[in-house]
Amino acid sequence: MAHTDTARTTPSEPVSRPSSSPQGSAPGGPLARVRGAVGRMDRRFLPILGTLVTLVLMLVIGQARYSTDSTNFISMRLFSNLLVDNSYLLVLAIGMTFVILTGGIDLSVGAVVALVGLVIAQLLIAGAPLPLVLVVGVLVGTLCGLVIGILVQVFDIQPFIASLAVMFLARGLANVVSVQSLGITDEGFATIAGWGLQFGEGSGLWRINSSMLIALVMLAIAFYLLHYTRFGRTVYGLGAGDDGSAVKLMGLNGPRTRVLVYVISGTCAGIAGVLFAFYTRSGFNLTGIGMELDAIAAVVIGGTLLAGGVGFVLGTGAGVLVYGLIQVLIAREGLDSWWTRVFIGVVLLVFVVLQRVISVRRRS
C-alpha cells in the first residue's frame, strides 16, 4: 500500500532535505517559515505534532468556554482527573502500541479486562490473599497474550483472527465465571484503590492516586523498552512489513519478539483489568465491550501508523489525553453521552485524513 511505503521512508532523513530546504529558505510570510520549520524537523515527529496540536486546540477551547473568574479550565485538577479516569485505557493503549508497531493488532484486550476483573472479584470472595489475587489477575492477561502470540507466530494465523479468537475465549470464560456483577469488598483492595496524595485546596484540589502512578510507571517502562533496548529496535524492525527479514538479517530475534509483544499487550490488559477493578470496585462480565477499539483509536490518534513501524508510545499517552478530553468537553457542554462516540469518530476522521495529507505531501 502506498500509505505504508511513504511512512516507511521516514527514517531516511537526507532524502527529505533537497525537497524541503529550498521551500524553507524561500522568501515569504510566516506561513512559509512555519512550513520550512516543519520540513526541517525529523519527519517521524509529524504525526505526533498533529496530536499535540489537537490536544492544545481542545485545551484552548475548554479554557475559553469553561473558565470562570475563580477557576481555570486548564489546571492540575483537570489533568489529575483525566489520568484518574483513563489510567486503565492508558495502560491498554501502551500494550496496544507495542503490537501495532509490529504491524499486528490485539482485539482481545477489552474481553481480557472483563475476565481479569471477574477473576479478581471471585478469588477475593473465595478468601484468597490479596497479593496472590492481584498477581493471578495480571497473569490471566499474560496467558491470554501468550496464546495470541503462539497462534500468530507458530501457526501463522493473522493477528486479527488470533486475537479475535482469544477475545471470544476471554469473553466466554468471563461469562462462565459469573454473569452477575461481583462487588469487591476486600479491605486491603479498597485501601490500595483509594490510596492517594492530595494537593491544593478547594476547587484547585487535585490528587495523585495509585492507578495513575501505575499507568505512568508503565508509560516510562514502555518508553525505555522501545527506545533504549535491543528489544525495542526489534519491535520497530518487525513493523517494516518485510515479514521480519530485515530483523533477521540484523541478527535480532524476530520470532521471540513477535510473541513477546502479544505477551506485553496481554499483561497490560491484565494490569488494566486490575486498574478497572480499582476504579469500579467490582467485576462484571459485560465490561470492556469495545474497549479494545477505544485503545486502538487512542493509539492511532497518538500518531502511530496501523501499518506498523512508525509511532511513539509517548504519542499514545497524548492520544489517551485527547480521548479523555473529548469526554470532558462533551460532559461540560451538557450534551448526551452518545455525542462522545460521534465526536471521537470525527476526531479520528480528521486525524487520519491529516496524516494522509501529510504523507502525500511528503511523497511529492
Binding site: 479468537a165 454473569v179 469518530g345
Partner: protein
C-alpha cells in the same frame, strides 16, 4: 514441490488428499460434526416438518438464524477479497434499522404495505450512503480500511442514537415485521432473502470478470491498476455493497422485534461476520475468496449457537465455543502446520525408501 514425492502412491489417496487440501474441507467437517453431535444429543434435531404450510424444525431455525450473519459476511467477503475489511457493518445495522423504524413511527399510516416498503428503501438507502462514505475514505483518500471503517464503527452507534433520540423506538407494522418473521412459499423470508442475495452475488461475481478483478486487487492493487483493472471504482463498489447488505441484515434482524435498540442491535456482529468469512476458508490478506465457504461459515456460527442450547449449556458460554471452533479450524487450515506435516511425511517417505534401498 517437494510434496509431489509423497503423492506417488495410488491415485485414490491423491483424490482424498485433494479433498483434504480443499479450502472448505475443515469448515465442512466442523459443520457436519456439530450437526451430528446435536442430532445424537437430541433425536428430533434433524426432523423437518410442514406445519400450516410452513417449514418447521431445528434445521430451519438454524437456516433462519444464519440469514443475518450470511448477509453481513457476503459483503464482508467481497471487501476482504480486495485486501480490505469493514468494521462498520454492526453499526450500519443499527443505523438502517433506526432510520426505517423512525420513518414508520412518524408516518401517518404505519401499518400499510407502502409505508413498510418505503421504510425498507430508506433503511437500505442510508446503508448505501454509509458504504459509499467508507469506500470514499478507502479509495479516494487512501486511508487503511481498518481505520477508515473503525471511524464509523465508533461513531455509527452514536449516530443511530441521534436518529432515535436516545430512545428505543418501537412500532407496529405487520408488513415490515414479515420481512424478518414471515414465510414465502413455506420458507422463512430471511432465508429466501439471504439465498437470493447469495445466488445473485455468486452469478455477478463468478459469471463476470468482477470476481477475478476483486482477487487481483486483493493480491496486488497497483499491478491490477497498471494492467487495466479499474481498481479504485471496483473497490469502492465493494464497500457500497457491503454497506447495503449490512443495512438489509439490520432490517431482517430487527424486523421481528420491531424495536430499534441502537445500543445493542448488531453489537459485535462485525466480528461474527469476519469470523464467518475466515471459517469459510477466505484469508484476511485478500485474494482468493469463497462465497460458498461463507454459507458454510454462517451455518457453523448459528449451529454453534443452537448446539449450546441443545446441550443445555448456559447461552453465555457461546463465545467460548466460537473461540474453540475458530481456533480449531484456523489451526487445522494453517499453512505452517500443513507444511510441517508434509515435511514429516516426505521425511518418512525418504527414510522408508532408504530402508528399501539398503
Amino acid at each position: 514441490m517437494t510434496a509431489s514425492t509423497g503423492r506417488s502412491t495410488a491415485p485414490r489417496t491423491s483424490v482424498l488428499r485433494d479433498i483434504a487440501h480443499h479450502g472448505l474441507f475443515w469448515p465442512v467437517v466442523a459443520l457436519v460434526v456439530l450437526i451430528l453431535a446435536c442430532g445424537l444429543r437430541s433425536p428430533g434435531f434433524l426432523d423437518i416438518e410442514m406445519r400450516d404450510g410452513h417449514l418447521f424444525g431445528q434445521l430451519v431455525d438454524i437456516a433462519r438464524n444464519s440469514a443475518t450473519p450470511l448477509l453481513l459476511a457476503l459483503g464482508m467477503c467481497l471487501v476482504i477479497a480486495t485486501g480490505g475489511i469493514d468494521l462498520s457493518v454492526g453499526a450500519v445495522m443499527a443505523i438502517s434499522l433506526a432510520v426505517a423504524l423512525e420513518f414508520i413511527d412518524s408516518a401517518a399510516d404505519g401499518g400499510t404495505l407502502g409505508t413498510a416498503l418505503m421504510a425498507l428503501l430508506l433503511g437500505l438507502g442510508v446503508a448505501l450512503v454509509v458504504g459509499t462514505f467508507n469506500g470514499f475514505l478507502v479509495t479516494v483518500l487512501g486511508i487503511q480500511p481498518f481505520i477508515a471503517t473503525l471511524i464509523l464503527m465508533i461513531a455509527g452507534r452514536g449516530i443511530a442514537m441521534l436518529i432515535t433520540q436516545g430512545q428505543i423506538t418501537t412500532v407496529t407494522s405487520d408488513p415490515f415485521k414479515s420481512i424478518g418473521s414471515g414465510f414465502i412459499l413455506g420458507i422463512p423470508t430471511p432465508v429466501v432473502i439471504a439465498v437470493g442475495v447469495f445466488v445473485l452475488l455468486s452469478v455477478v461475481v463468478r459469471r463476470t470478470a468482477l470476481g477475478m478483478f476483486l482477487e487481483s486487487i486483493g493480491i496486488n492493487g497497483e499491478a491490477s491498476r497498471l494492467s487495466g483493472v479499474k481498481a479504485r471504482s471496483t473497490t469502492w463498489i465493494v464497500y457500497v455493497i457491503a454497506g447495503g447488505l449490512a443495512g438489509l441484515a439490520g432490517i431482517v434482524y430487527g424486523a421481528p422485534t420491531m424495536a430499534a435498540d441502537a445500543n445493542n442491535i448488531g453489537l459485535m456482529r462485525e466480528m461474527d461476520a469476519i469470523m464467518v468469512v475466515v471459517l469459510g476458508g477466505t484469508k484476511l490478506s485478500g485474494g482468493r475468496f469463497y462465497l460458498g465457504g461463507v454459507v458454510v461459515g454462517a451455518l457453523i456460527l448459528s449451529t454453534i449457537e443452537r448446539a449450546v442450547i441443545i446441550f443445555h449449556l448456559p447461552s453465555e458460554t457461546t463465545p467460548l465455543f466460537k473461540a474453540i471452533v475458530l481456533i480449531a479450524v484456523t489451526v487445522a487450515a494453517s499453512p505452517r502446520l500443513r507444511e510441517s506435516m508434509q515435511r514429516r511425511r516426505v521425511r518418512a517417505d525418504l527414510t522408508s525408501r532408504a530402508k528399501v534401498a539398503a
